[in-house]
C-alpha cells in the first residue's frame, strides 16, 4: 500500500553569498515525503535544516532546484509553520493569534469562529482565549502556535524546533498532545529538532543531516506502533539501539565540523 507523495524536493541547493565567506547551506537535496507522514530532520545546529524548512515555508528561495507540495484542494493553504515560542504575536489575544491565518485568508466569520473554538478547546486554551500572550507560560504559548497552524488547515505542517525552549516535563506533555492532534488530522509534517529522543518519539522517518554543506546523510525508519507514549521509547531496547545509531552518526558530524573550524 504505497502512499502518495506529498512533498517532492529535487536537486535543491541553497548558497548564501557574502563578500568574506560564502556558505553552501544545502547541497543537492533530493527528498520525497509521503502523504500523512511525520518526518523529523535531525542535525547539529548550523547544518541547514532550518534553511530547508524556510524554503518550504516560502520564506527563502532556493538557489538551484525546486520543490513541490502536491495538492488536490486549491482553496487550502499549501503550508503553515509552527514557529518557536516567540512567534506568538504579543499584541493579539490568544484567540486572535489562533484565528490569524483564517482571518488573513478572509474566511467567513462563522467558519473562523468555529475552527478557532475547536482548536482552542483541543489544546486546552479555551479558558485563556481573551488573554494576551504575556500572561501565558512557555508551554501555553507554544500551544497557541500549534493551534494557529492546525486551525489554518494547510496541506503540510512545518515545525521549527517548537519545543526547544520548554522544560523537559512540559516538552513530554506537549509532544504527546501534538501526536494526538496529528493522529486526528492525519497531516503531513516536517519537524526540525536537535533532540534525538524527540525525533524517536514523533517520527515515522528520521533524516540525519550533515553540516556545511548540508546534506541528508542517513535515513532511519521508526515503525513503532502508534499511539506512542514517552515511556514506550524509553522502555524499548530497539529504540535504545536506534538512539545509539543516530548519536554515532551525528557525533562524527559534530566532530568533523569542529575539526574544520580549527
Amino acid at each position: 500500500m504505497k502512499k502518495k507523495a506529498k512533498i517532492e524536493i529535487t536537486n535543491l541547493t541553497k548558497a548564501f553569498y557574502k563578500k568574506q565567506s560564502s556558505v553552501t547551506a544545502l547541497e543537492d537535496i533530493n527528498l520525497t515525503i509521503e502523504e500523512g507522514e511525520f518526518v523529523c530532520l535531525v542535525g547539529p545546529s548550523g547544518c541547514g535544516k532550518t534553511t530547508l524548512l524556510r524554503i518550504l515555508a516560502d520564506l527563502e528561495t532556493p538557489s538551484i532546484g525546486d520543490f513541490k507540495i502536491l495538492t488536490e484542494d486549491k482553496t487550502r493553504p499549501l503550508q503553515s509553520m509552527v514557529f518557536q515560542e516567540r512567534g506568538v504575536i504579543p499584541w493579539l489575544t490568544v484567540e486572535e493569534n489562533v484565528a490569524f491565518g483564517l482571518k488573513m485568508r478572509r474566511l467567513p466569520k462563522e467558519v473562523i469562529r468555529e475552527r478557532t473554538a475547536y482548536y482552542l478547546k483541543k489544546t486546552g486554551l479555551d479558558p485563556f482565549s481573551t488573554l494576551y500572550p504575556k500572561e501565558l507560560s512557555g508551554g501555553m504559548k507554544q500551544r497557541v502556535s500549534i493551534a494557529r497552524a492546525f486551525a489554518n488547515d494547510p496541506e503540510i505542517l512545518l515545525m521549527d524546533e517548537p519545543f526547544a525552549a520548554l522544560d523537559e516535563q512540559n516538552k513530554f506533555i506537549l509532544q504527546e498532545e501534538l501526536l494526538s492532534i496529528w493522529a486526528e488530522t492525519g497531516k503531513t509534517v516536517l519537524f526540525i529538532t536537535h533532540s534525538i529522543d524527540e525525533a524517536l518519539l514523533l517520527s515515522d522517518r528520521i533524516l540525519l543531516m550533515s553540516s556545511q554543506p548540508g546534506k541528508i546523510i542517513h535515513e532511519i525508519k521508526i515503525d513503532l506502533p502508534r499511539p506512542r507514549k514517552v515511556e514506550d521509547i524509553r522502555e524499548n531496547p530497539e529504540m535504545a539501539a536506534k538512539f545509539v545509531e543516530i548519536w554515532q552518526h551525528l557525533q562524527e558530524e559534530v566532530q568533523n565540523s569542529r575539526r574544520e573550524k580549527n
Binding site: A57, D58, L59, P77, Q79, S80, M81, F83, Q84, R86, G87, I89, P90, W91, L92, F100, G101, K103, M104, R105, Y132, P133, K134, R148, N152
Partner: protein, 273 residues
C-alpha cells in the same frame, strides 16, 4: 503556656505575615516621601522668604503667589492667557504629531523612502525651531499661526524618529509569521506594523508633548501679545514677579497633567505590554 509560644513561632504563615507587614510599612513610608518632598520644598521656601533669608523681591513666598493666582483668576486675565496657550499647544502638537506619524510609518515601511528622507530629517533636526522663529514670524505673522507652526516643527522630529525606529525594530519573526500565514498589504499594516510600532511611537509622542511646552513659552516670549509665555515675560519686565511665578507654576502644572494623560492613553492603547 510554653507550648503556645513555640506553636506561634513555628507557624510559617505568621512569620511571613509579619515580614509582609514590614514591607507594606516600608512601601507606605516611601509613598509618604514622594508626597512630602514638594510640600517640604514649598514650606522651606515660605519660611526662607518670610524670615528674609531669601530676597522677597525675587522670591515672593508661595502664599503670596497663591494670593496673586486667585486675584488673577477672579479678574479673568489668567483664563485668557491659559486658554490661548492651550489652544496653540494643542493645535501645534497635532500639526506635528500627525505628519510625524504618517511620514515615520512611510519611512519605516518603505526603505527607499527612508533612504531618501532620513538625511533631510537628520540635517534639519539639530536646528532649534526657535532659532527659526524670526523667519516664521515674517512668514506667518505675529498671530497664533506662527506659534502653532513653531510648536509643530519642534514636535515633529522626536515623533518621526521614534515612529521609524518603532517600525524597523519589529522582531523579524512577526514578519515571517505574517508572510507565512498570507497577510496582505493592508492586514500587514493594521495587524503587524502599526501595533508593533505603537509602543516606541508613543514614547516619541510623549517626548513631543514635553517639547511642545518648552517651545510655547519661548515662542510667546519672543513674539506674542498673549499667552502664558507672554504673561511670564511681561510680568518679568514690569518686575511683577508674583505674576511671573504664577505663569511658571502653570507651565509646570500643565506639563504634569499632559504627561499623566498620555501615560493613561499609553496604558489603554498598549494593553498587551
Amino acid at each position: 503556656m510554653n507550648k503556645k509560644i513555640t506553636e506561634v513561632q513555628e507557624n510559617p504563615f505568621e512569620i511571613e505575615q509579619q515580614e509582609w507587614r514590614k514591607r507594606q510599612r516600608k512601601e507606605r513610608w516611601k509613598q509618604m516621601l514622594t508626597i512630602a518632598s514638594p510640600v517640604f520644598m514649598l514650606m522651606l521656601w515660605e519660611f526662607l522668604s518670610q524670615t528674609g533669608l531669601l530676597d522677597i523681591r525675587f522670591f515672593p513666598p508661595p502664599t503670596a503667589i497663591v494670593g496673586t493666582f486667585i486675584d488673577m483668576t477672579t479678574s479673568g486675565v489668567l483664563f485668557e492667557h491659559v486658554g490661548i496657550s492651550l489652544y496653540r499647544i494643542f493645535l501645534g502638537f497635532l500639526l506635528g504629531v500627525v505628519p510625524g506619524v504618517v511620514i515615520g510609518l512611510l519611512m519605516g515601511l518603505y526603505s527607499p523612502i527612508r533612504h531618501f528622507i532620513s538625511p533631510i530629517v537628520m540635517a534639519l533636526m539639530p536646528i532649534p525651531t526657535l532659532a527659526l522663529l524670526p523667519i516664521i514670524i515674517i512668514l506667518f505673522g505675529i498671530g497664533d499661526l506662527s506659534k502653532v507652526i513653531t510648536i509643530a516643527g519642534s514636535v515633529f522630529f522626536p515623533v518621526v524618529i521614534n515612529t521609524v525606529a518603532g517600525v524597523t525594530n519589529i522582531d523579524s519573526i512577526y514578519l515571517d509569521v505574517a508572510k507565512n500565514y498570507g497577510a496582505g498589504k493592508v492586514s500587514f499594516f493594521t495587524k503587524i506594523a502599526l501595533p508593533g510600532a505603537l509602543p516606541v511611537m508613543l514614547e516619541g509622542i510623549q517626548m513631543g508633548q514635553a517639547i511642545a511646552l518648552l517651545t510655547i513659552v519661548a515662542a510667546e516670549m519672543m513674539g506674542a501679545t498673549s499667552g502664558i509665555g507672554f504673561l511670564i515675560w511681561t510680568s518679568y519686565k514690569a518686575f511683577l514677579l508674583q505674576e511671573m511665578y504664577v505663569g511658571l507654576i502653570l507651565i509646570s502644572f500643565f506639563g504634569y497633567l499632559f504627561s499623566l494623560f498620555l501615560r493613561g492613553l499609553q496604558k489603554k492603547m498598549v494593553p498587551w505590554r
